[in-house]
Symmetry: D2
Subunit: 276 residues, 4 copies
């Protein structure tokens, strides 16, 4: 088990009555256990805790009148680290995939696997199937993109990124997801906290479905998968925005942090971390 | 209650072992009751009945060895027709929407509501909120597009259609969905059977979430909503393809039919049909 | 005649041997006469004066070794103001257009008139033909876009802008050009200097071919057409970049100015200025 | 010298007064000499011979009243075959390129070299400069695309093709052009007649500017460059449509042919053919 402290603070200048949907709290999964957590709003507002989507993403809905508004979240999370002998992990056949996994084969807003299918097949279709193929896709993404803040925006898609060859974590994940789906591997997007991320921010990474389980990958290599705490999961970034607001409010400040409670486990990278 | 007979036959030339995912059977919802149904495969194959996605779409998975393969589906469905006084139906506020509805506000592969948001807001932002606004969106789509088979393909999106102004049922629905989401109304895609559809085929239409319920619309005006039988529901057409196949098979023939068991109810159009 | 003083200074940090193509000097046309001009490079370099494209855009090519490099241009230009009775100006028929105008009917990189043709026709196809129709297109662009620096980049096209509804001068011009071509009016892009432009910069605007002549329009309304001095002309912004460089150099500073030599002529707007 | 017979017949059902711009006659260049030619219209109409664009493309403009209208073109063309030792041919430096070549470095409607620049640079940036690099680009295009009639349409661009990996001659040429421009080699689109093309049709191919001259390439490998007769040249296919019509007319039939007057010269492929 690895214990990780995470947290974030968001400050808004709320100009008129605004409905916020926050997705900033640690997900509750069999892999990660929330030891303790606090979610505070200042000034105090009633909060509604929603479970959204098939995976039950935790979304907190609040209605805020005009004010200086801040949200503070802090938690300690225990991560189960299953170190798998990655070379042994194969792919699941479509004939055997659980029904709930099938939608993660479909193209989505930012991961147009239908457009990228032939490219994916040409580039990765002949590789040995399994964990190593997803790793090869992530390596390709890492090798061919330049991590360039500001080079993309909220409407940039995997196809855009494949051509322009620059992006940030969200774009890396979208491209890796689209390429996985393109060769028939279910893949999904995760938002989360990442230990040692520089500069500190919420992070975006991905999971591929292999041999009956979801495995995490971070194509940016900005963070070790052993320090990744999942917030939400979705088809792409559209499903896990840290905040969605209806009304009028300006984000004034954002602080995000994550660190190991104790010394980091000594593990060789890349390790395979399966989740559920 | 309206009783409708529906059915379809698909014939494939299966060239090598192929996994099929079929989505051709009537959905099981509170609005529509399947009185009887038969799903037959020739030659006989084991079939696995999957529930996919949050809405539990019925997907039938079969594995087929090389052969001439045919699928036949027939059913009688009872539709509950709730004729609502449509002018009374308002919109739901984000602050009050059920959690499971929120994902239908997100952009999806073929409904880029993020790109079309400003257009939607300019064109429909000032209209009175409610059923009539969705009707206005569907009317706009009907008025501005030419129904032109062959003018679009599997990768055509709502943004493409908004520019090129042609499409088929799928494109009409995608554009209407994107515009609804663009003004803050949850909307989703439905595949189904449509009584009197010419030429006969599976149909694509949409639902908007208003005042706590989903309401059906067909922006093509090719079919009356009282004769629409839902197969599956999703964010867009990517989620409800009538068949998805992994392997090698050629669709040789497709027959689709739907008709009222008795004389069609005499209803003025457009009527509001709420579903769940 | 209107006399205008224009000029610009560009400073570069040249990191390695770089070939520059500058397009910053006033065009030589029957409408505008360069009374005097100076183009200086510091340090001194050999300069080659090229005439590029059908319209003979003035491009200055220099080869620069690593250094702090600056370019200074100053000129006095006399503009002939032909005040036309704009309501009398009709459109040219394809049957009568001069051959050299025909290419300005074709779609170009940033003006996809092929994609926007139906939209243009629906919106502007029924208007009376002539100057007033181009004015209606420019008014529509002005009314439906928000001038938002930073909302677009070097790859943004007219179709993008039509959807997202924001942009800068270049985007306004591209959209107006694409819509003109979409209804069969030849249109082209101009870069230039603009008196009173705030903030000062090179400007982008357009010309439409009407009744045998080119007429200038500025859909941004940021500058009066009587104060517009043309640098170059092309199918779109791709043809008239103020600098194109091969090598490695960083633009450190850019100053652009333009003002009337004497008091501005008292003319009612919008005036029709024909050029050749 | 190689003598080639070329010709084409177009038949239209003209529904209302229509202006046609035809681009179907052999270009007049230093490489190809038109020995004799006939351009006939039935019924007879006045024809205007226009020179369009910097390269003086031959465009024939006619105005046709409602009728069954046919165009017939026949010519004998002498091609000068300059067999160059291709490995010796280098690239031109930007510093030395003739001014009229510079616009062929710009992105165009169907050749978005700005979007594909990084891809081009990654894939071909390190290759030895010269004829062999253009050949490598054409080989890459040939190897990675499937020639699939119907897979693209009039709005398909090089970026689309790079992702979807299918197309026809026009798409092959567009992608090769965009990739050449992406690495700094001027490139342009040619329409023409091609000996032995199957099925017979007008053909689309390309030229790259190397070492002071334009060299022809056909990335489809459907025709030998020694049997290519140029009609027109442009930035991309938008400039050289075989017919552009304003009015209402339906193309009923199209016949195109090209064959060697005598036995084909015995040349090893790929040969370098320079043109001007």
């Amino acid at each position: 088990m690895t214990e990780i402290h995470i947290g974030s603070t968001l400050q808004y200048d709320v100009r008129q009555r605004t409905v916020f949907l926050f997705q900033i709290t640690a997900g509750l999964t069999s892999r990660q256990r929330v030891v303790n957590e606090q979610l505070n709003f200042d000034p105090f507002v009633e909060v509604e805790d929603c479970q959204v989507g098939v995976e039950g993403n935790r979304v907190h809905r609040v209605i805020v009148e005009p004010c200086q508004f801040s949200v503070n979240y802090q938690a300690t999370v225990d991560l189960k680290q299953e170190i798998d002998p990655q070379t042994q992990i194969g792919e699941s056949k479509v004939a055997e995939m659980p029904a709930e996994v099938l939608t993660y084969m479909n193209p989505s807003r930012y991961c147009e696997s239908d457009l990228l299918g032939r490219f994916a097949f040409e580039e990765f279709g002949q590789l040995e199937r399994g964990f190593s193929r997803v790793q090869a896709i992530c390596d390709w993404v890492y090798d061919h993109l330049d991590y360039t803040p500001g080079s993309t925006n909220a409407t940039t898609t995997a196809a855009d990124v494949l051509l322009q060859r620059t992006g940030v974590c969200r774009d890396y994940a979208h491209l890796a997801i689209a390429l996985c789906r393109g060769v028939g591997i279910p893949a999904r997007y995760l938002s989360g906290y990442a230990v040692d991320l520089q500069p500190p921010d919420y992070h975006g990474f991905m999971e591929a479905f292999l041999d009956g389980e979801w495995y995490m990958f971070d194509p940016t290599r900005l963070a070790s998968t052993v320090g990744l705490v999942r917030i939400g999961v979705g088809r792409d970034a559209a499903d896990v925005a840290f905040s969605t607001l209806t009304g009028s409010a300006l984000l004034m400040q954002k602080n995000v942090w994550a660190n190991f409670a104790e010394s980091k486990p000594n593990l060789d990278e890349p390790s395979a971390v399966s989740t559920a």
